[in-house]
């Protein structure tokens, strides 16, 4: 029996998982992410934790197929973090070579953390059973991960699947974090939903339980569930933009299923009926049959995806 590790390096903690060759999660734990001193301890800490787990379980190097790892930055085809990772303090470095040296030669497969989480949802989460999947993460921003024929689409500079920055609205006057105006992220992220809510509430005096309350994506969808009409209109605007944006994505990559995750997706089943009508309205008919599902793995998507890349050779360049 062979094993694989999955590591998901975040700004506060590193999540780790040990998987058997059939993709069963055997063990799961976390270590703190030490971002001080330009994050120089992070890789040694993760490597030591993995080697410690191997010792604990009496696993030799030969038992380990490899270690998959997701990190918050662009990763090139050879496994280098070409732009570093600002949240970890990292400057550009060769993640794969550094990590493999710390692990005494165990093969490491690094990828961008959003892509890795997408791979996890394709493999064991809301997209399982499909091999053409677009994972959409609605959090502070809007992220994406694209899997075609079971492999991650990373793009030429590791920026594939950055669907939050699709231009979707010509009339926007506020500037997105990327420097442009009218990006999908400005409407479909948690912060985007708050913007939509603020704008809607300013339009008139229609009664709403959102007035005077602290606005958040959660508050909006809680109000939707409680039957609030204004909240319903805000959700419709959110769904209009997201459906329209995903219709564009469907014309380009023609997925079987969109898997909606991230903090906003915790609203649950109430979300999808707001997205689908707009998607159908704008989608090119041959790609309009894509299904929608909610993400299922939550914070474990990263460790699943990281290990899954190793067990299934899930990167396009890993053949």
């Amino acid at each position: 029996m062979k094993y694989a590790f999955g590591a998901d390096i975040g700004g506060t903690t590193v999540k780790l998982g040990l998987f058997d060759g059939e993709g069963n999660l055997l063990d799961k734990w976390e270590i703190p992410t030490r971002t001080e001193e330009k994050g120089k301890n992070i890789i040694p800490d993760v490597a030591a934790s993995i080697l410690g787990k191997m010792q604990e379980r009496a696993l030799s190097k030969e038992d380990i197929l490899g270690v998959g790892v997701g990190a918050p930055g662009a990763v090139d085809d050879d496994g280098a973090m070409i732009g570093g990772a600002v949240n970890l303090g990292w400057e550009p470095f060769h993640m794969r070579k550094t990590f493999e040296a710390e692990l005494g030669g165990i093969p490491v497969t690094p990828a961008n953390d959003a892509n890795v989480a997408a791979y996890g949802e394709m493999w064991k989460g809301g997209g399982r059973g499909n091999d053409d999947v677009v994972a959409v993460t609605l959090g502070t921003g809007v992220g994406g991960g694209i899997i075609t024929k079971g492999k991650l689409l990373t793009g030429s500079t590791g920026a594939g699947g950055e669907i939050g920055h699709i231009h979707i609205e010509d009339k926007e006057e506020e500037v997105c974090g990327c420097g442009h105006k009218g990006c999908l992220e400005q409407y479909a992220s948690a912060t985007g939903i708050v913007r939509l809510a603020r704008r809607r509430l300013a339009e008139d005096d229609a009664p709403s339980c959102l007035r005077g309350a602290e606005l958040s994506a959660k508050a909006v969808f809680d109000a939707v569930k409680a039957g609030d009409k204004v909240a319903n209109e805000i959700a419709e605007r959110f769904g209009y933009y997201l459906g329209k944006g995903l219709a564009v994505v469907a014309a380009v990559v023609n997925p079987e299923v969109f898997v909606i995750g991230g903090g906003v997706s915790k609203a649950g089943d109430v979300l999808l009926p707001y997205i689908e009508p707009s998607f159908k309205k704008y989608a090119f008919p041959p790609s309009a049959g894509a299904k929608f599902a909610l993400a299922e793995l939550g914070n474990d998507a990263g460790i699943y995806g990281a290990a899954g890349m190793v067990l299934n050779q899930g990167l396009q360049n890993a053949q």
Copy 2:
């Protein structure tokens, strides 16, 4: 030495090419496409032509790695034409199995013709030297073919790369061929450019050599080259839409290069400076470094791409 054939089945003729194992085109010829009787003779005709060429050159089945073929319709992962091909009279059928039977078992690799031509341009044309390429065909419509890490992105139902049907303009009132309004194809195809020209000319009485002339994409770009100011404005509008649409494509698949082909691209180098500023304006910065090139293979892109798929296993599912 092994060989491969490439076939490009169009509505009027089938183009054929014989290539050696290094991708050199050794021979090139055409046969008529017999679309009568639901196109039932097309595959037998192509097979007979290939077997005839083998006899002429004293090649045995063992000498042939395979036959790649592009056809105007959606092709699924197993090589079936799942929607038939309306231009050829075809109803849905299993292209790969039918063709292989006619060829006595020589392996056949079918794909959509636009995708095959894109593959040809990546391999031997304007995109050579890159393996993340988006080919854009500006003809009667706008077609696309996406290659990631050297493999064609076909999508879940063979509709990947249909970038002509990206929604790009909310204010459009005319209906696109797909049934929606505001698709990229309505502005960036040859017919789209004529629409833009007609609209611009109707706006005022500014002098232009296009007035009273028969409008075509060629006429517009000829007028641009002659220094016509109104034609220049029309080209700017074309470039605005195409650049904006390709910026969206770049956010999704992050190519190294866009290769612009099709009839409109015969305008030549004058085209790209109209597209690039709008692309830069709308592209997500990490994917804004994509280059632009003109297609180079013209009508031979299909036979190159078809043979190239065989020689390089250029389909994502052909591993």
